[in-house]
Symmetry: C2
Amino acid sequence: MNVQTKPPRPPLNGVDTQTLLNTINFVVGQPDLARFQFRAANRWIEGTHSRSAMLDFSGAGADHKHLKSYFGDSDHPTVLCGGDRAPTPVEWLLHALASCITAGIGNIAAARGVKLTRVESFVDGDIDLRGILGISDEVRNGYSNISIRFEIEGDAPPEKLQQILDQARARSAVFDVLRNGVPVSVAMNSVQ
Amino acid sequence: MNVQTKPPRPPLNGVDTQTLLNTINFVVGQPDLARFQFRAANRWIEGTHSRSAMLDFSGAGADHKHLKSYFGDSDHPTVLCGGDRAPTPVEWLLHALASCITAGIGNIAAARGVKLTRVESFVDGDIDLRGILGISDEVRNGYSNISIRFEIEGDAPPEKLQQILDQARARSAVFDVLRNGVPVSVAMNSVQ
């Protein structure tokens, strides 16, 4: 006799919600599985141009690899005397924010039975370069402000879509890091 | 009669140092030129997979475009029920940090007359996913710690290379944002 009261949920928005909920429930009982470490390895190319590879990570009690190595480049724009062969490092922060909250929207909408048809976001960050150019010690190096605006369409009223966005923000790893900061240690390995 | 006491510097490490110094001196006299805004536009694809485009930005009193549109994808890994079609959003934060400090190393080494032959960095971030999974309200959503280790080779002694790294960190926009946080506003546009 099947005593399960909730039938398995079919995938929605490309999210296998049942597997995701099973994963969460599994971690509840074994919190050590929740410890993850993500990594990137960067190599300078020329000038302000460099490339990172992202492949290995650990978590859920094991070492993992992505399906393949992923790469990302950064450079400074020509107006700042760079080669503009890639986005700037600070633009990657904006991509990280938008894509983190958007992933949450995908998962949370699926969990709430909302079928999404469009999620777009537009993010901008204001920065006074007198900081990084060393012109003023009273100007911070980083962004003074980041603003992101979402457009979300799906089979739910605007209030419910707003609640999904609110929850995605409330559980976003990147939003938390950007908003609240994190300890960062920088060291130089001795080289032979 | 030429009264210039310092001859122009030739490019080094792929950095046109003279133009960079001229740019900095120009901004000293017109601080409004230092106000920049960087932007990204993200579109959800499926599940936790999305793509950002980075093209327009403003600064130095004008609107600019990169030489072309740059794109970056994010996804969640399969162990977290994603499709693993791209790096995770939190890995992009690590790439942003490594590439920002590395760009600074390129510029600062050139300004100090140091020829670089290799700059590599290895960055990792620890994160307890009980936060984003909604399992514990006492665990933050984001990284608890980020650590980056550099290996730098060039025609200078280790102490001087360490000073270049120190200055690159001290003027890094991404290091500042990650270390100290920034106000982030999240809004939903009304859609017809």
